[in-house]
Structures are given as structure tokens and as C-alpha cells.
């Protein structure tokens, strides 16, 4: 079966993002950008399914600014076969992303779509579920294990109380959790080879999707910082402080 994975270009997880002084937005000028970590896991899972003979072709899709090409090249270096870039400078909310991805899915007709459970910039945790709804597909969210069976997908999901197993009819959508796999280290020859793999461009207009935002960001601010505490010498002093000062014991 054919698999499609969505990869988002986000501020690297090591960067501590700050609000702009005027509170209009976050300040991400000149910060390091990377593939959303959950999307690396998505690509890795697709590649493993391909290596296991369950997936025939992997198409990586990214939506957004020109820089997404770099993210797509990373996906190609990890083992995706082709890339599709829906290029736009417009800000995209998860609903718009889901609608654009739906349009791409309709063109590509994959049996499996894998996306991250959450983009670590907007922390929305929505796109996969929305896409599944728009397609009328089943969803295996927060997956820590995926097995391809006959016409179905067995997904183990990380839920609040532990794990849950569900069986999904194909075509199906999966969102990745941290324990699904450990993404591979990309070797130099694969980076070179990725440069030769096809990367097609699509526009929002071609896909005919209304991406007008539904939310307006009125303000962005940093939360009040905790005030620095004290170091105590030993367990006895700690217990005394917790009892007499903090009064939590």
C-alpha cells in the first residue's frame, strides 16, 4: 500500500521561544528550524513498514513557506520516495492544514496516512483527527505500535490509563506518539541521494481550499516566571522547610 506522511517545519525543540516585546507574536527570527519530532517518527514508521514489505511507496507532504523544502529533503533522506510541497506564506491553522492534506490525499490515494500527534510549536494536537474526520477514515491516535494486517491496521494507543488496542479498516490514519520508534540517523549518502528524489510543488489555489484563519491571536505573552528557590543541605532541613515554611506536609 501507498503511505503518505505529513512533515511540519517547526522551531527546533531545543530553542526556548520568547514573545515579541509588543506581544503581537512569538519571536522566531533567525532561530533553528527542524522537522517536528513527531513527524520524524511518522517518516521512520513509514520507512519501517516499507522495509517490512507492507508499504510500497512513501510520499512526504509539507505545507508552508519555502523552507519546508529542507524539511522534505530530510524526509527523503530518511527514506521517503517522493515529496509534495504545498507552498504558501499564509499562516495555516490545523483545520486548513487538514483540508489541504485531504486534497492531497484525494490526488495521491494512499491507504495509510501518518502524521505527528502534535506539532511542538502550536501544541494543537488536532490535524490528524481533523483529517481523518474530513476523509471519513478511522484514526489511530497517539500510536506506540502499528501492525499492518489483512485490510486492517492494528494500532496500540498511549492513553491516560495505559495502552489501548484498536483495529482500523484501511484506509486509515495514524498519529505518532514518542514510543512508536526511534528515528534513524541519516547517513551522508542518503542526503546526497535525497537531492535527486522528486519534490513537486502545489499551490493552495490548485487544491481549491479555503484557508482563511478562524482564530485571531490577540496577544502573546510569557507566563510569570517562578521565583528562584533555595538549596537546602540535607533531607532533615528539607522536611523542616516543607512542614514549617511551605506547609505542604
Amino acid at each position: 500500500m501507498k503511505a503518505l506522511v505529513a512533515v511540519k517545519r517547526v522551531v527546533d525543540y531545543n530553542v526556548k521561544v520568547r514573545a515579541k516585546a509588543d506581544g503581537s507574536d512569538v519571536d522566531i527570527a533567525n532561530v533553528k528550524m527542524s522537522m517536528n519530532p513527531f513527524d520524524e517518527i511518522a517518516v521512520e514508521e513509514a520507512v519501517r513498514l516499507k522495509e517490512a514489505g507492507k508499504v510500497s511507496e512513501i510520499v512526504a507532504v509539507s505545507l508552508g513557506v519555502k523552507g519546508c523544502e529542507e524539511t522534505l529533503r530530510t524526509a527523503l533522506a530518511m527514506g521517503a520516495d517522493r515529496a509534495v510541497h504545498v507552498e504558501t506564506d499564509a499562516p495555516l491553522e490545523p483545520l486548513a492544514v487538514a483540508k489541504l492534506l485531504k486534497a492531497v490525499v484525494e490526488r495521491e490515494a494512499p491507504q495509510l496516512v501518518i502524521v505527528g500527534k502534535q506539532a511542538i510549536d502550536d501544541d494543537a494536537n488536532q490535524t490528524g483527527q481533523m483529517l481523518a474526520a474530513l476523509l471519513g477514515w478511522p484514526q489511530g491516535t497517539f500510536a506506540s505500535k502499528v501492525e499492518a494486517a489483512d485490510g486492517a491496521l492494528l494500532v496500540t494507543r498511549e492513553i491516560d490509563g495505559g495502552l489501548e488496542n484498536v483495529e482500523l479498516k484501511l484506509p486509515a490514519l495514524v498519529t505518532t506518539d514518542l514510543r512508536l520508534n526511534e528515528p534513524r540517523f541519516i547517513k551522508l549518502p542518503n542526503i546526497m541521494a535525497a537531492k535527486k528524489k522528486p519534490l513537486d510543488k502545489l499551490s493552495v489555489e490548485e487544491l481549491g481550499v479555503d484557508i482563511a484563519p478562524r482564530l485571531t491571536v490577540l496577544k502573546v505573552a510569557e507566563p510569570a516566571a517562578r521565583k528562584a528557590g533555595v538549596k537546602v543541605a540535607n533531607a532533615a532541613e528539607l522536611v523542616a522547610k516543607l512542614k514549617n515554611e511551605a506547609k505542604v506536609l
Binding site: 474526520a133 491516535t141 498511549e158 495502552l163 488496542n165 533531607a235
Partner: protein, 311 residues
Amino acid sequence: MAILLIAEHDGKTLKSATHHAASAAARVGGELHVLVAGQSVGDVAAAAAKIAGVAKVLVADNAAYAHNLAENVAPLVAELAKDYSHVFAPATTAGKNLLPRVAALLDVMQISDIVAVEAADTFVRPIYAGNVLATVKSADPVKVVTVRTTAFDAAAETGSAAIEAVGAAHDAGLSRFVGAELTVSERPELASAKVIVSGGRALGSSEQFHGVLEPLADKLGAAVGASRAAVDAGYAPNDYQVGQTGKVVAPELYVAVGISGAIQHLAGMKDSKVIVAINKDEEAPIFQVADYGIVGDLFTVVPELVAELSK
């Protein structure tokens, strides 16, 4: 204007996440209804009827809803939502699984994980692992919202709402519940615990994780949590993970043992009332948020702490 709140339950008991989300909904104002979807959920509905401020409990009792499959429950909620200005759910894994699917069916943008209600259409939510808070205003006809439960007190149980059966069955036939492996523990749940003892990579093994932390948790009547590194290494189950992409907690007392304090971990616990850190590296970032820190080897400090608490 009326608000529909999706109840969080396991088929038998109503979860307190519902009570927290109810008090967030109360900030919006308007009549509050709770939807209990499941199979044989009479007890859950009765418990939901007691939540203060709830005017009506809607019960969709059907085998199709037994395991909370989003493919089946989302169309039900979307259908009911036509009569509401807001749909709320706690930002638990169940709420996060279901609500975006509802939002897409309604063609609206969900507002995830709110920590404050500014107006009926304006909410505050953390982004970038809680490094910043965004205030967002929705232009959609129905506001679909998930609630960070730690940001709102639990609503009291002083109500006595009417209970009403609703909804046709939607069995999408797309997915099937196969089974669950739930963590069984005598301890309080992480989400509602007053005290949490959390361990990191430094615990070194599953045996040490449990062997070192549990006596301390016993003394404190605490729930046990973990960093991602500890969960990834298999020292603790996945549902112990505290952080940006795990559980968000805000207990009275959070004890971080052998945890460095990466932003992704801080995102899940920095709203705790009192934070204690035990780490052998005095430069560890966890000390920047800790009210009390002990620089030392956890394998000596934790047993000493247990002994001290036994006095």
C-alpha cells in the same frame, strides 16, 4: 447560549477531569449540559447530574459508544452541537482524540488546552511547550474547546440536574476496540494527586525506579510520575510521563528526582505549588523552578528523606 460538556469516564465512574472542565465552562456562562456517551452508563450519568451548575445530563447509551471510539462518538456530538454555542471537553487523551474530529465535522477550528477564559469567544492557551501564552479569539459559530484541567478548580458536587436520553446510534463501522492494558495502581491518579514523586533517567533501571521512589511515594501518599527519558528507557509505563507531550500536573508538592528539567518536562509540572528537586548536578535547570533543591546523589538522599519522614 448553552454549552455542551463531554463527560470523561471509563464506563463505570465519572472522572474528575469533567468537574475541572465544568468550572472552565462556567466561566463562559450560559446553560451547561453534560453528555455521557457510553454503554450502561447510568451511574456515570447520575454522578454527572451532581456537578454544580449543570442543568441537564444527556445520555447516549448504546453499544456503539461503549469504548469511546471517536469514529462513532464524533458524529453524535457534531449532531448535538447544532443546539449549542460551545462544546467543551477536558484535554485528556480521550478529549484530544475526540474533539478535533468533532470540530472538523462542524468545520470549525478547535481551541486546544485552554488555561483561561477571557470572554465567550476568547481564550488563553499555552504554545511552544508553555514558553508563551497566546490569547486567541474565535470567529466560528460553535466554539470547540479542550480544557487544561489543572488550570481550573473542580466544580463542586452540589447539583441535581435532570437526566435525559438522546441521540441515535452512530456505528461508523470503521474501527473496533480490541482491548486495553491499563496500569493498575493503589496510588492516587497523577492528574488529581496532591503530591507527586517523579523520577528521571538517573534512576537507571525499572527496579531502582520503583525500589527508590515507591517508599518515598508511600510516605507522602503520592502518585508516581516520570520524565520521558525514564519512560523511553522502560523504567515506568507511558502513562507516567509528565510534560509537554505527556500529562500536565499541578499538585501541592512535586518532587523531581534525577530529572534535569528540560523545557518539555517543565511544561508539564511548573505550575505545581511547591517544587522540590534532587539532582547531583547543581547546574541542572530543574533548580531554576524548584522552591527547594538538594544537590546530591539521589540514591543516598531519597532513603534519607524516607527515614526523615518516618520520624
